[in-house]
C-alpha cells in the first residue's frame, strides 16, 4: 500500500506539469492583453465601449514599460519556466491589479467560499441520498416518478435566471422582503454583537445563496444513489438476506445501503476542487467575496497570476481528490488490493 501511494504521488508530477502548461498557454494565448486593457481605462471602458483620452502621446512606450515591469515582454517559454520555478517555492507571484501577493488574496477568500460550498454540499447530500433511497425502494411508483421529475426540472432551471428572480421577488424590491439581496452580513454588522445575533444575521444572508447553489445538485446525486441501490438490490446476497427472513428495513439499511455507498466514494474526487472553485454565478450575483468572484474578476482583468494560481490550486485539489478516492475505495472495499501482485 505504502509503495502504491508513493508511486501514485510520483505519477502526479507529470500530470500536474501538463495541466499547468495547458492552463498557462490557454491564459496567455487567449486574445486580449492586460496592458492594453489598462491603457484604455480598465474594465469600466469595456462595459461602456468607451476609451478615455487626453493622453499626450507616448502610450506605446508606457505599454512596453508596463509589460517589462511584469515580465510580460519575455518569450512565453521563459515566462512559464519562471512561473514554475516560483511555484515550487509556493510563490504565486503578485497580482497585476494591486501588486499584492496572490496567495494572500486567495487565503483571504477561502473561508467564505468553503463555508458556502460545505453548507450547500451538506444540503445536497441530506436531501439527495434519502431521495435516492426512496426512489430505489419505491422504483417506478408514482412517488418515484414525481421526485424524479421534480429533480430534473430543478436541474434544468438556469441558475442565473433563478437567482435573478429570487432577488427581484423575495429580496425586498417591490415585492417580498424575505432575504437580503447582496452580501454576507448586514450593513450595521459589528463584532460587538452577541454570538447569537451574529449567527442569525449570517444565516439570514447565506440561506438563499446556499439553496440556489444546491437545487440543481439533487438530480445527479439522487440518480446515482438510486441506480447503485437498484443494482445492489438485484444481487443474490440481498435475496439471501430476505430469504433468511430479515426485516425489509434491515435488508435495505444494513445490507443494500452500505454496499451501494461504495461508488459514492468516488464522487469525493469531484467535491474537493468544488470546495475551492466556488460558484462564479452565485458569488457574482449575490456580491459574495469568495474565490468564484475573484476568479471571474481576474479573468476579465486578464490578471494572469491570480487566474493561474486559482487554476493551479484547483488542479492540485482535483489530483489529490482522485488519489484520496482511490485510496478510500480500498479502505471501504476490501476486495480491492493495490500494489499486491495477484
Amino acid at each position: 500500500m505504502g509503495r502504491y501511494i508513493v508511486q501514485r504521488l510520483f505519477l502526479l508530477i507529470p500530470t500536474f506539469v501538463g495541466v499547468t502548461l495547458v492552463g498557462f498557454l490557454v491564459m496567455h494565448l487567449a486574445p486580449g492583453d492586460p496592458a492594453e486593457l489598462r491603457a484604455a481605462g480598465g474594465l469600466g471602458g469595456a462595459r461602456e465601449g468607451a476609451i478615455s483620452r487626453n493622453k499626450q502621446g507616448g502610450v506605446d512606450e508606457a505599454l512596453s514599460q508596463w509589460r517589462k515591469q511584469y515580465g510580460l515582454d519575455r518569450p512565453l517559454p521563459i515566462q512559464y519556466a519562471v512561473w514554475l520555478k516560483n511555484l515550487v517555492t509556493l510563490n504565486f507571484g503578485e497580482s497585476f491589479k494591486d501588486n499584492q501577493s496572490v496567495w494572500n488574496k486567495i487565503i483571504e477568500r477561502v473561508p467564505v467560499t468553503v463555508k458556502l460550498n460545505v453548507l450547500s454540499l451538506l444540503l445536497v447530500y441530506l436531501i439527495a441520498i434519502p431521495l435516492g433511497i426512496y426512489s430505489a425502494t419505491h422504483s417506478n411508483s408514482l412517488g418515484d416518478q414525481i421526485t424524479t421529475l421534480v429533480a430534473f426540472v430543478l436541474f434544468a432551471v438556469p441558475l442565473i435566471w433563478a437567482a435573478t428572480m429570487a432577488i427581484v421577488f423575495i429580496c425586498g424590491g417591490d415585492f417580498l422582503y424575505l432575504f437580503p439581496p447582496a452580501g454576507l452580513e448586514s450593513l450595521d454588522y459589528s463584532s460587538h454583537w452577541s454570538l447569537w445575533r451574529k449567527l442569525k444575521d449570517q444565516a439570514w444572508h447565506i440561506f438563499l445563496p446556499v439553496v440556489l447553489l444546491s437545487y440543481d445538485g439533487f438530480a445527479g446525486l439522487s440518480r446515482y444513489m438510486r441506480a447503485s441501490m437498484l443494482e445492489v438490490m438485484g444481487q443474490d446476497f440481498v435475496q439471501m438476506a430476505r430469504a433468511k427472513g430479515l426485516q425489509e428495513r434491515v435488508v435495505i439499511f444494513k445490507h443494500v445501503l452500505r454496499n451501494s455507498l461504495i461508488p459514492q466514494v468516488t464522487i469525493l474526487a469531484s467535491i474537493l476542487p468544488g470546495l475551492i472553485g466556488g460558484s462564479v454565478i452565485i458569488e457574482t450575483i449575490f456580491s459574495i467575496p469568495g474565490l468564484g468572484q475573484l476568479g471571474y474578476e481576474s479573468v476579465l482583468a486578464r490578471d494572469y497570476p491570480t487566474v493561474l494560481a486559482l487554476f493551479t490550486v484547483s488542479a492540485i485539489l482535483t489530483l489529490v481528490g482522485i488519489l484520496i478516492s482511490d485510496l478510500l475505495l480500498a479502505v471501504v472495499d476490501p476486495r480491492i488490493a493495490f500494489g499486491r501482485r495477484q
Binding site: D33, R38, G45, Q100, T164, I167, C171, L187, I285
Partner: protein, 592 residues
C-alpha cells in the same frame, strides 16, 4: 469632484451635469415634511451616505490605481494645488495660495503653497511634499506608466523656499497649468517615503535611463508599489477608515481637517461615506429600495421601468446629468468606400440619431454634431445637423457615382478601375449592448437602400487591437473626456494616425493640423474658442465620424439628503447634508 484627466472614466459612472439644471430633476424636490423649515436651510454635520460601487477598487494607491471607483474614493482623501469651481469649471486655488505665476516664455510655473495645510496625521504640508509627489509620478520605476504619460511635458521642478515650487515644462502648452494643478495629488512625503530615499534625487535625474538610477530609487519604488495599496493618507476632508474586500470601503470625515470653516474652502458634512460593493445592478436596485443604499446610478432600463412607483418617488429623487462623452461611428477614412466625404455625409443622413436616442437610450441622451462636450463654450451649436433624410442621402450617393449597375440590388461604383459593391463590416465591442443595437438598426436601414453591412462582435481588448491597427471598415465606439478645456490633438492630428495613435480612422487635413497645433500654444481662451469653431466646421463638413450622441446618466438619491445639486461637473456628495431630525445613522464617535 473630477480631478486629472487620467481619471477620466470616472465620468462614465459619476456625474457630469448640464448647466443650471435645464434637464435636471424631472421631479418635485421638496424636503420631507417632517423637517422644520429653519432646520432645512442650515447644513449640519452627521449621518452617513451609503453609496454603490459595482466592484472593489483595484487598489487605493493614488499613483498606481487605474479605475473609476478608486479615483472617486481617492478624490475625497487627496487634494491638489488647484481645483475647479463646480459651477464655472474655472480653475481656483486649493492647496496653492493662488493660481500659478507663468513665466514670460510660458514654460515655467511657480506655485505658492498655503501655510495652514496639514495632512490627516497632523503633519504640515509643505513644498517638499509637492516636490516629492511630482518626483514619485516621474519615477520610471513606480508602477504608473499610464499616469506618467500625462507628465511627459514636465522636465524640471525645484523648491524656491519651503512654501514655493517652480516647474519647468518642455514647451508652451496652455493645459500644463491643469496638469500640474489638478493632476498631481499631494502625498505626504514622510508617509510614502519614510526614509526620504528620493531626497537627493532631482527630477532631472529621474528622466535618465532607468537602469542607471541609484539603488535607493529602486528601493523606494519597490516599497511604494507594494506597501501602499490599501492605506491612503492625504490632506483631504475624508480619511480612509476600512476596506473589507468585496464588501465595503469606508471613509470618515476628518474632524481635524485643515480646511474646517476656512473661507473659500468647501466644507463637508456627512460623517461617513460607505461604498457598498454590489456586483449586480438588479441586486443593487433592490438593496436601494430596501433602504440599505442611499444612492446609486441607475441603468436606462431601471430609470424607465422599476423606479417610477409612488413609493419610490416618495423616498428617492432622480437626477439626470450628462457624462462628458460621446458615442460615434468611425469610418475608416482610408477605406476606398469611405475615402469620399460625400459617402460619409450620406451615411450620417441615413442614421436616424434622434430615433435612436428615443428608443435605444429611452430618451437619456442628446444628439451631438462635434467632438467637444456640448456644455463647453468651445462647442459650436450652429453646426449643420444632418437630420435623418434618406432621399438626400441617396442623392448624394448618386452624385458620388454609386448606383446599382449590375442589378443585384447592391449599389456599386467603379473604384480604381474595379467594380466595387457597397459592402462593408461594422466592428462592435461585445460588451456594449447599446452599440450593438445601434448597428442593427442602421444595418436594417442601409439594406433598404442597397448597402450591405455585416456586423462582427469582438471582445473588448481584441476590438481595441483592431482599432489601433486600423483593421476595420467602420466601428462604433465612445470617447470619454472631461468637462474642462478640450484638446483634440490626440484624436484628429494627422501625426496621430501613425504609430497606433488615437486617430484610428486616419483622418488627415492640413488646415486642421495647423489649428490643433496653434490651439495648444494659445493662452487666450477667447482665441482658442475661435480656433476650435473653425476646426468643428471643417469636421462637420467632412464627417470623418458620424457623431451620435452624448449619454445622460441618472442617479437616485434618498430624499433625506439636502444640498443635492446638479453641477456642470456632476453631483457632489461631499456637499450633501441631513437635517438632524432626519438623520438615519448614529453620530460617530469621532476618533482622533
Amino acid at each position: 469632484m473630477l480631478k486629472g484627466s487620467w481619471r477620466l472614466l470616472l465620468s462614465l459612472f459619476l456625474l457630469m451635469g448640464c448647466r443650471g439644471g435645464e434637464t435636471a430633476d424631472t421631479e418635485n424636490r421638496s424636503a420631507p415634511p417632517i423637517v422644520a423649515k429653519q432646520e432645512a436651510t442650515t447644513p449640519v454635520t452627521g449621518d452617513w451616505l451609503v453609496t454603490h460601487a459595482l466592484s472593489d477598487p483595484e487598489q487605493l494607491n493614488p499613483l498606481t490605481s487605474n479605475d473609476a471607483t478608486a479615483s472617486e474614493i481617492l478624490s475625497f482623501i487627496f487634494q491638489s494645488l488647484l481645483t475647479r469651481d463646480p459651477r464655472t469649471l474655472e480653475l481656483k486655488p486649493l492647496i496653492a495660495q493662488s493660481r500659478p505665476i507663468v513665466s514670460e516664455d510660458k514654460r515655467a510655473y511657480t506655485f505658492k503653497i498655503r501655510r495652514d495645510v496639514h495632512f490627516q496625521d497632523g503633519r504640515p504640508l509643505t513644498g517638499e511634499d509637492v516636490l516629492f509627489s511630482v518626483k514619485a509620478i516621474k519615477c520610471p520605476l513606480v508602477n504608473a506608466p499610464f499616469l506618467q504619460v500625462y507628465f511627459n511635458s514636465i522636465i524640471d521642478a525645484e523648491m524656491i523656499d519651503e512654501y514655493s515650487i517652480r516647474f519647468v515644462t518642455k514647451e508652451p502648452y496652455f493645459l500644463n497649468e491643469s496638469v500640474l494643478g489638478e493632476n498631481v495629488l499631494i502625498l505626504p512625503r514622510h508617509y510614502y517615503d519614510p526614509e526620504n530615499l528620493l531626497k537627493d534625487v532631482t527630477l532631472r535625474d529621474l528622466l535618465r535611463d532607468p537602469s542607471k538610477l541609484p539603488d535607493k530609487v529602486k528601493k523606494f519604488a519597490d516599497n511604494f508599489n507594494k506597501n501602499y495599496s490599501r492605506n491612503p493618507v492625504g490632506s483631504g476632508p475624508y480619511k480612509f477608515e476600512d476596506w473589507k474586500t468585496g464588501r465595503e470601503v469606508d471613509i470618515l470625515r476628518d474632524p481635524n481637517y485643515w480646511g474646517n470653516s476656512k473661507p473659500g474652502i468647501d466644507q463637508v458634512f456627512l460623517d461617513r461615506i460607505k461604498y457598498r460593493i454590489i456586483n449586480n445592478m438588479d441586486a443593487a436596485l433592490v438593496t436601494l429600495k430596501s433602504g440599505s443604499l442611499d444612492t446609486m446610478d441607475l441603468t436606462p432600463i431601471q430609470h424607465t421601468r422599476g423606479t417610477n412607483s409612488e413609493r419610490f418617488k416618495r423616498e428617492f429623487q432622480k437626477l439626470e446629468y450628462f457624462a462628458p462623452s460621446y458615442s460615434y461611428i468611425g469610418w475608416n477614412n482610408e477605406n476606398p468606400i469611405f475615402m469620399d466625404k460625400r459617402v460619409r455625409q450620406a451615411m450620417t443622413y441615413l442614421t436616424n440619431r434622434r430615433q435612436m436616442v428615443k428608443t435605444l437610450l429611452f430618451g437619456l441622451g442628446e444628439v451631438v454634431n462635434g467632438p467637444i462636450f456640448f456644455f463647453r463654450p468651445e462647442y459650436d451649436k450652429t453646426l449643420h445637423d444632418y437630420p435623418y433624410n434618406p432621399d438626400k442621402a441617396l442623392t448624394i450617393l448618386r452624385e458620388a457615382g454609386w448606383k446599382d449597375s449590375d442589378g443585384d440590388g447592391i449599389l456599386d461604383k467603379i473604384i480604381n478601375g474595379k467594380r466595387t459593391p457597397f459592402r462593408f463590416e461594422f466592428k462592435v465591442p461585445s460588451g456594449s449592448s447599446t452599440g450593438k443595437s445601434i448597428i442593427l438598426v442602421l444595418q436594417e436601414e442601409l439594406k433598404k437602400h442597397g448597402i450591405l453591412a455585416t456586423v462582427r462582435e469582438l471582445d473588448w481588448t481584441i476590438f481595441l487591437d483592431d482599432v489601433k491597427n486600423h483593421k476595420f471598415d467602420a466601428v462604433i465606439m465612445a470617447w470619454a473626456m472631461q468637462a474642462s478645456e478640450p484638446d483634440e490633438y490626440q484624436v484628429w492630428h494627422s501625426s496621430q494616425a501613425a504609430n497606433k495613435g488615437s486617430d484610428h480612422i486616419s483622418y488627415k487635413n492640413a488646415r486642421v493640423d495647423r489649428i490643433l497645433e496653434d490651439y495648444r500654444r494659445e493662452f487666450d481662451p477667447k482665441k482658442r474658442v475661435k480656433l476650435y469653431r473653425e476646426f468643428q466646421e471643417i469636421l462637420n463638413d467632412e464627417q470623418p465620424y458620424t457623431f451620435l450622441f452624448a449619454r445622460k446618466s441618472v442617479s437616485a438619491v434618498q430624499r433625506r439628503f439636502h444640498g443635492v445639486e446638479v453641477y456642470p461637473a456632476g453631483l457632489r456628495p461631499q456637499e450633501w447634508w441631513v437635517p438632524r431630525s432626519a438623520q438615519k445613522y448614529a453620530r460617530e464617535t469621532m476618533l482622533q
